[in-house]
Symmetry: C2
Subunit: 342 residues, 2 copies
Amino acid sequence: MIIDIHGHYTTAPKALEAWRNRQIAGIQDPSAAPKVSDLVMTDDDIRETIESNQLAQMRLRGSDVTIFSPRASFMAHHIGDFQVSSTWAAICNELVSRVCRLFPGHFVPAAMLPQSPGVAPETCIPELIKCVDQYGAVAINLNPDPSGGHWTSPPLTDRHWYPIYERMVEYDIPAMIHVSTSCNPCFHTTGAHYINADTTAFMQLIQGDLFKDFPTLRFVIPHGGGAAPYHWGRYRGLAQELKKPKLAEHLLGNVFFDTCVYHQPGIDLLTRVVPVANILFASEMIGAVRGVDPETGHNYDDTKRYIEASTQLTAAQKQQIYEDNARRVYPRLDAALKAKGK
Amino acid sequence: MIIDIHGHYTTAPKALEAWRNRQIAGIQDPSAAPKVSDLVMTDDDIRETIESNQLAQMRLRGSDVTIFSPRASFMAHHIGDFQVSSTWAAICNELVSRVCRLFPGHFVPAAMLPQSPGVAPETCIPELIKCVDQYGAVAINLNPDPSGGHWTSPPLTDRHWYPIYERMVEYDIPAMIHVSTSCNPCFHTTGAHYINADTTAFMQLIQGDLFKDFPTLRFVIPHGGGAAPYHWGRYRGLAQELKKPKLAEHLLGNVFFDTCVYHQPGIDLLTRVVPVANILFASEMIGAVRGVDPETGHNYDDTKRYIEASTQLTAAQKQQIYEDNARRVYPRLDAALKAKGK
């Protein structure tokens, strides 16, 4: 089985974006604010967007199950206050849960949180609980920068975040560290902010000792870990200067990287540098880079081709990356699959 | 000849830091402010710090000439106002110029600028002119984020920066895009802020069309280009989505990467992905990562070993990386070397 741990509902019916635009307009002009019940999408609407997009690609490329969460760039936690984020997160999570119920063999949900800049993370707990208990979410997406590129929250190792971590540990669910749209003109959302956030999070974890407090806490750093694997020597050296244990001991029991690296040399570096046990298959399709690479004739984000073409990985190691690691890092996914006899 | 294009005076006599601390104290309490003339360092003081550090390492590792600039993390443009930055930049540039005069066969200067958050970049021009005309600076370091991790300046493609670029073109000098200390607790200075800035700058250049306005402008993105080479497929794909020309045509006549990547797999990726003509040898020793890698028994930042050990590069390509590219990208360095018969 091939499990893609990083998929977002980037192709939702246009009604979703239209509703969100009305919600945003309503922040300035409450008379323009829509009701939740104004948003109507039929099961057929949803089916169509999945069957012609993500599911079509999964069949074509040969992956079986996707961990599916609301569109990352649309989380936009910087917009409005907690109430705005809370309503929006509830809508997006419910929508993803409908996708997963419509295609139970192919999609398993992960939740976005109703984060809001300057608001205590514990306010996200009710949505988290609902998503796990009612929707069967097997993970959360945690935004280390709800300000959208101004980085006004404390580092991930700060006690600020502990209420979320306590629930993650209780439920035994991992978090993917994933920012949203940048509203800082310096940072292109998917070309700078996403990758910088991955790198930033990894370095914060090196600096801290978070996993002493939460030995079973697990983070997935997407987009191949940002710059971390390419600069692995720098990070090993910085950990050494900071008198931390070796990375393997300090972080690699708790920190995992996905394979959203959109060319063969990048994947080859990742698999050469990072232990196979810490690499999880993912594509983030249909996402930031939707085109066809003229150098290969295939989609940039068809990451399975790079894993397949790897001459460094054995068949057993590919199996770990495709399936075994995901079942270990996402135990609720494993349980859900086993409940279906998979 | 082996030219290291990325060295900072990280080992300056302690009197420099003590003076800076007094200058910083003087921002709040003008009675504590030191005079420039209070800072006294003899030629012997300077000689000692270079001979026992950078020059000793150059001899040991086998590099010949270093492009030398003030310590990057000490630029700290976010501290004080333009006058504070101006006095500090003048001191640091003069000090580096003394090093280069004391060791004319080994060090060639590059200038820091007296940038200050919210202050127009043209205010840096007099210092730039002085450094080129009087000190023989062959390049500048340009900080894309003088706020120190808050990213309050416009992107590098904005006309905001054009007065600097006009002078660079006039003098035919490149800029290394190099941030300084992060005062944002989210970003570790050398582990996150430096690498993020490299990635951010590269993406800004993809988004814009700066080199249409300045066809001969040249930037060096340090630390191996941040995350860019590891995510080369992502960047090729994003350029494609943005309807930009291919990276080779869009940027690679103007953008170069150094080899400050502190492990063999990283260097191997860089040289596999980026054309050899765009790679310049550098170590940034004695800098962010000063330790010995237990996996190799050698310093992490002894980057010449990785180039030497590369099985992908021919001898002619190594010669390009070690010397030829630097002479082409830094024509004033080439002229200075030729004037010495080198």
